[in-house]
C-alpha cells in the first residue's frame, strides 16, 4: 500500500469501509454526504499512510477513526461556515413528531423520515465541537480518553466541552419534553 499498491488499498477499503461509513453516518444523514466523506477519509488515509506509526497502542483502526472524526469535524465546521439556517422554526408536524419521540411512541416510516430531518435541523443549532463530542459520547460510547485520542484535544477540554454540550442539548430538547 505504501508503494501505492491498488490491491492493498482495495483490501483496506473492503475491510474498513463499513465502519468508516457507519461513523460518518452518525454525523450526516444525507447519503450523498456520507459517500463523499468516506471517499475523503480513504483519500486522507492513503496520503497520510507515511505518517502512520503502528504499534500496540496505536492500532490502524484507531488511526483511521481519528482521520474519520477529523474529516467529519471539518465538514461540520464547513457546513456551519456556509451559514446553514440554524434558527429555522419547526413546523407543527415536526414538533408533534419530536414530542412523540420523547414520549417513546414508535414512529411510522413516514414519521421516521420527518423525525430525522427535524433532529438534524435541531442538532445543526449546536456548535460543531459540541455536536462532535455529543455524537461520540452517544453513538460510539466513547470515553473522555477515547474522544481526546480521536480529536487530539486534551482530556480536560473534552470534559468541559462535554459538560457544556450536554447543557446545550438539554436546553434544545426542553421545549418538547
Amino acid at each position: 500500500m505504501r508503494a501505492g499498491d491498488e490491491r492493498a488499498f482495495s483490501q483496506l477499503f473492503e475491510r474498513h469501509s463499513t465502519f468508516v461509513a457507519r461513523l460518518v453516518g452518525r454525523f450526516f444523514a444525507r447519503t450523498e454526504d456520507v459517500e463523499d466523506l468516506v471517499q475523503d477519509v480513504f483519500t486522507e488515509a492513503f496520503l497520510g499512510l507515511g505518517r502512520y506509526r503502528g504499534g500496540q497502542d496505536r492500532s490502524f483502526v484507531a488511526w483511521l477513526k481519528r482521520i474519520t472524526v477529523t474529516t467529519c469535524y471539518d465538514a461540520l465546521r464547513g457546513e456551519r461556515a456556509r451559514g446553514t439556517d440554524r434558527t429555522e422554526a419547526l413546523s407543527h408536524r415536526e414538533v408533534h413528531a419530536l414530542e412523540g419521540l420523547f414520549q417513546g411512541v414508535r414512529p411510522t416510516p413516514e414519521e421516521s423520515t420527518i423525525l430525522r430531518d427535524t433532529a438534524a435541523k435541531l442538532l445543526a443549532r449546536l456548535s460543531p465541537a459540541d455536536r462532535l463530542v455529543l455524537t461520540l459520547l452517544s453513538s460510539e460510547a466513547a470515553s473522555v480518553r477515547d474522544i481526546a485520542e480521536m480529536t487530539g484535544w486534551s482530556a480536560a477540554k473534552v470534559k468541559v466541552r462535554a459538560y457544556r454540550a450536554r447543557r446545550t442539548l438539554r436546553a434544545l430538547v426542553k421545549p418538547f419534553v
Partner: protein, 146 residues
C-alpha cells in the same frame, strides 16, 4: 454510555435532567443514518472511484509540493537577483541618458541653428554681421537675410 458527570446539576432536578438527557440522546440517535441507507451507501461506493480520487489527490499534492520546493530553493537567491536587477537598471538608465538628444529650443529656426552653431564655418564677425542685418519682420526661419 460513558458520560462525564463532573459539574452536572443532578441534585436539584435529577428527574428532569435525566429525562432531558434521554431525549437528547434519542435525538442524536434519530439523526443518524439507518442500516438500510448505510448498505445503500456501501453498495454505491466504488473502490475504483475512491482509488482514482486518492491517486489524483496524491498527484496534485506532489505537483504543488514541487512548486513549493522550487520556491524554497530560489528564496536565498532573491537578494542577489534583486542586486543584479538594480545594477542592470542603473546601467540601462545611464545608457539611455547618454544617447538622448541635447535639449534645443523648439522655436529655434534652421537658420539660427546654422548661424549660432559653434561648429559652423562662420566666424564670430560673420555671425555678428548676419544678426545686425537681420530683418526683424522676416525672421521666419525659412528665409535667409536679404
Amino acid at each position: 454510555m460513558s458520560v462525564p458527570k463532573a459539574g452536572i446539576d443532578t441534585k436539584r432536578q435529577p428527574d428532569l435532567n435525566t429525562r432531558l438527557d434521554e431525549a437528547g440522546w434519542a435525538l442524536i440517535d434519530t439523526s443518524a443514518i439507518t442500516e438500510v441507507e448505510l448498505n445503500a451507501v456501501l453498495s454505491r461506493l466504488h473502490l475504483r472511484r475512491v482509488w482514482a480520487c486518492a491517486v489524483a489527490e496524491r498527484e496534485r499534492q506532489q505537483f504543488s509540493s514541487m512548486w513549493q520546493a522550487l520556491i524554497l530553493a530560489g528564496r536565498p537567491a532573491v537578494p542577489i537577483l534583486a542586486t543584479v536587477a538594480l545594477v542592470l537598471a542603473t546601467w540601462w538608465w545611464i545608457g539611455i541618458a547618454k544617447l538622448s538628444p541635447q535639449v534645443t529650443d523648439a522655436h529655434e529656426s534652421p537658420w539660427d541653428r546654422v548661424a549660432f552653431d559653434r561648429t559652423s564655418i562662420l566666424s564670430d564677425d560673420d555671425v555678428l554681421t548676419l544678426v545686425m542685418n537681420w530683418p526683424v519682420a522676416g525672421r521666419s526661419g525659412l528665409e535667409g537675410p536679404r
